[in-house]
């Protein structure tokens, strides 16, 4: 069975919420819609206090090339535009909407009928995806329309669908495939048309045999779509790792996947693209996994953006008594939150409640030079060295050792027998070096 070549670790899967039907979360009384739900510049609001909005109405436009539109996830009246404290104590701009009823924009098709035919031209498809404010729902939130417009001179050869879900605990993509496989297949067809490729590989890890069987059955009816089961290994969902696993090509250091002719899309993004192109429905909701070992009813919830995350926690039976950390995302790449009143947004794919005994870091010991971190690093870096360089502030040396290739997957920290905070220092160094490189490019 296929997998990527270098490094990787095997954390416990803990897919507790697997097989739980997607439930709809209730509408909030007041929706707080963040303007920076994507990578890049925050969107510019085009509504003001008192504006009546409907579900799906554009409320903020992309402000720059790498940015995305934001639509109203609820209907009601704009109460104010202000800053809120996000899940990590930082201020971020948001539009506050007092919810009244649930009135949708007229052009949105809310029926559950499946529309298989798309007659749009490739350029129109990409335009429509951009207008719908779709971003990569795998975690990075990179605007999808930018990813689907390859730079001049580059040609995509193959589309790779990321249905790996290598993060432990998370099951939202798995469940989405089980319930909306047909729509996803149509979405794949739309993307293939948009970027002009005739081959698609859907990569699924083999811990989801039901999803592999389901998708294989559906793919057999579609030309050029192939489902590849992948050997279980974290971080297979990383873009570069997935390309290596599926087509055996390695993306060069510092280059984009298009360099080897690949375009990677997450399966949830594909579903959002189907809804946007065929049903005119912008990205206003997503499936979020709420899970944890002590959680009463872990499950997958479809939530409108702007709903406080505490609503989701309540739906899963509340916060268990001995919870030490609540993590946004999965346990490997997610971040522990300091404020759970943050609204749901495009970025958050899961909420994980870790019991306190699992959430406390153990005391770091001295590095014993066992080189386990080097063996585990999927990008072929030397984490022990980078961490030390970051500690000493040797930014130039870090750049020479390819710190910017780090994908912050946390394999080094996971595998370290001395429990050294490798990722903490590496990430700090990456931020610093990234800043230095940006400043240097600005000067040029």
């Amino acid at each position: 069975m296929k997998t990527f070549r270098i490094g990787g670790v095997h954390p416990h899967e803990n897919k507790i919420s697997a097989g739980q039907k997607i439930q709809n979360a209730p509408l909030p009384n007041q929706a707080i819609v963040l303007l920076a739900q994507h990578l890049g510049a925050p969107a510019t609001p085009i509504v003001e206090k008192g504006t009546e909005v409907k579900v799906g109405q554009l409320i903020a436009t992309a402000s720059g090339f790498i940015s995305a539109n934001v639509h109203s996830p609820v209907s009601g009246k704009v109460a104010k535009i202000d800053t809120i404290v996000d899940g990590w104590g930082m201020k971020t701009p948001a539009v506050f909407i007092d919810v009244e009823g649930d009135e949708w924009m007229e052009n949105i098709d809310r029926s559950s009928d499946i529309k298989p035919v798309c007659k749009l031209e490739p350029a129109d498809i990409v335009k429509k995806i951009g207008e719908a404010g779709i971003v990569g729902l795998g975690g990075a939130c990179f605007p999808t329309h930018v990813k689907l417009s390859p730079p001049p001179g580059k040609k995509a050869e193959v589309l790779i669908i990321n249905a790996v879900e290598c993060e432990p605990y998370l099951t939202c993509d798995h469940q989405l495939m089980m319930e909306h496989g047909e729509e996803i297949m149509i979405g794949i067809g739309i993307i293939m048309k948009a970027i002009g490729v005739n081959k698609t590989i859907v990569g699924i890890e083999n811990n989801k045999p039901d999803a592999i069987a389901h998708m294989k059955a559906l793919a057999s009816k579609v030309m050029g779509v192939e489902v590849t089961p992948l050997k279980l290994k974290y971080p297979q969902g990383g873009e570069k790792q997935l390309i290596d696993a599926c087509i055996g090509r390695q993306v060069p250091s510092g280059a984009l996947p298009i360099e080897v002719g690949a375009v990677v899309q997450n399966v949830a993004t594909v579903y959002a693209i189907y809804e946007a192109v065929q049903k005119n429905k912008p990205l206003i909701e997503r499936v979020v996994t709420v899970t944890g070992k002590a959680v009463q009813t872990p499950g997958n919830f479809r939530v409108r953006f702007g709903t406080p995350l505490s609503t989701l926690l309540d739906m899963a039976g509340g916060i268990p008594e001995n919870t030490g950390k609540i993590i946004a995302g999965g346990p490997m790449m997610g971040r522990a939150m300091s404020n759970i009143n943050m609204p749901a947004n495009k970025r958050i794919s899961g909420l994980l409640m870790l019991p306190s005994e699992e959430s406390i870091r153990q005391e770091p010991q001295n590095c014993i030079r066992c080189a386990k971190c080097i063996g585990a690093c999927p990008m072929g870096l030397e984490p022990y060295l980078l961490a030390k360089q970051a500690e000493l502030g040797l930014w130039d040396e870090m750049e020479q050792h390819h710190i910017m290739d780090c994908i912050e997957c946390g394999c080094c920290l996971f595998t370290c027998p001395s429990r050294r905070p490798l990722l903490d220092y590496v990430r700090m160094g990456k931020n610093k070096v990234g800043g230095i490189i940006r400043a240097r490019n600005m000067k040029k």
């Binding site: 104590g89 522990a336 300091s338 404020n339 905070p421 990430r427």
Partner: protein, 297 residues
């Protein structure tokens, strides 16, 4: 016997030849170095802290010798006396400079600023500031893990375990600026040391609106602007909900300290009560105290 003579002569000739080659090479590849650089370098403290903005003391000495005048050249560690000596060697006059000192602009002690979360990772301010806003409700304030104390080469900065804030030892601080660069929240500032080490500064950098800032920290600057109105020298500006005192304009009258409702403006090294401001200061001071108490309740 013959062997000894032959070897002596051979060695002697080789030695002479080598000496001639070395002499010629030394003359041909001679690098001229201004002897004054050496003289200046000896005068410098040799800390290589980089506080002057150059890469070490040697580099600073080279720049001093090359420069036309002493304008803009200051060794913060040696201060004015060292710069005068350097100027003497170079036959110039030293530019006048006020001695500076590092000032910590956060008063978010454990009592003023309660913790809202607990950070479990590596105790490093830079790492925390990359991850989230910090352990308290104020995302602008001191994180308290002591990056500044680690950066200080003169043992002048220490984290006070009771308040969780760094404290500057005025005697040891050389104003090299290493802590200013190390602080990811830009809390530490180099300010004029002032006559008799007396100075006044706003001990807060919170840019939130008054209510939000006050909720997170009882000693926060709420940007009310009372101090700016009170200041007779127009030294205080309120921007982004936080006041800033321009130390080049401040005349240390201490009127602003008395009117600040949250006690965010600090005065350092002043005598308990100056005779001129006694009458003015007592009443507003009491008023300030009572308002603080009522808001606390």
């Amino acid at each position: 016997m013959n062997l000894i003579v032959v070897s002596l002569i051979t060695l002697g000739i080789t030695g002479c030849l080598a000496a001639i080659i070395l002499y010629v090479a030394a003359q041909k590849f001679k690098v001229f170095e201004d002897p004054r650089i050496e003289q200046v370098e000896v005068l410098l403290p040799g800390a290589n802290c980089g506080g002057c903005g150059f890469a070490g003391c040697r580099n600073f000495a080279e720049s001093c010798v090359k420069a036309e005048s002493m304008e803009g050249l200051l060794c913060p560690v040696g201060g004015q006396p060292t710069m005068e000596k350097v100027a003497e060697v170079l036959g110039r006059t030293a530019a006048a400079a006020d001695p500076m000192v590092a000032v910590v602009r956060c008063n978010g002690t454990c009592t003023n600023r309660p913790k809202t979360s607990q950070f479990n990772g590596t105790k490093n301010c830079q790492i925390v500031s990359n991850l989230y806003g910090g352990e308290t409700g104020c995302s602008f304030g001191c994180i308290g893990f002591g990056d500044c104390a680690t950066a200080c080469k003169f043992d002048a900065l220490h984290i006070n375990p009771e308040s969780g804030l760094p404290e500057v030892d005025e005697e040891k601080c050389t104003a090299c600026g290493a802590c200013v660069k190390a602080c990811p929240k830009q809390i530490i500032e180099l300010r004029k040391k002032g006559p008799k080490s007396r100075r006044i500064f706003v001990s807060c950098v919170n840019k939130d609106k008054g209510g939000v800032a006050r909720k997170a920290c009882s000693a926060a600057c709420i940007g009310c602007g009372k101090c700016a109105k009170e200041c007779p020298f127009e030294a205080i500006t309120v921007e982004n909900n936080v006041a800033y005192i321009d130390f080049t304009k401040c005349r240390l009258c201490r009127k602003c300290v008395a009117v600040c409702p949250t006690g965010a403006i600090h005065e350092v090294n002043f005598p308990a009560r100056a005779p001129q401001v006694e009458k003015e200061a007592t009443t507003p001071n009491n008023v300030a105290k009572t308002t603080e108490e009522t808001t606390n309740n």
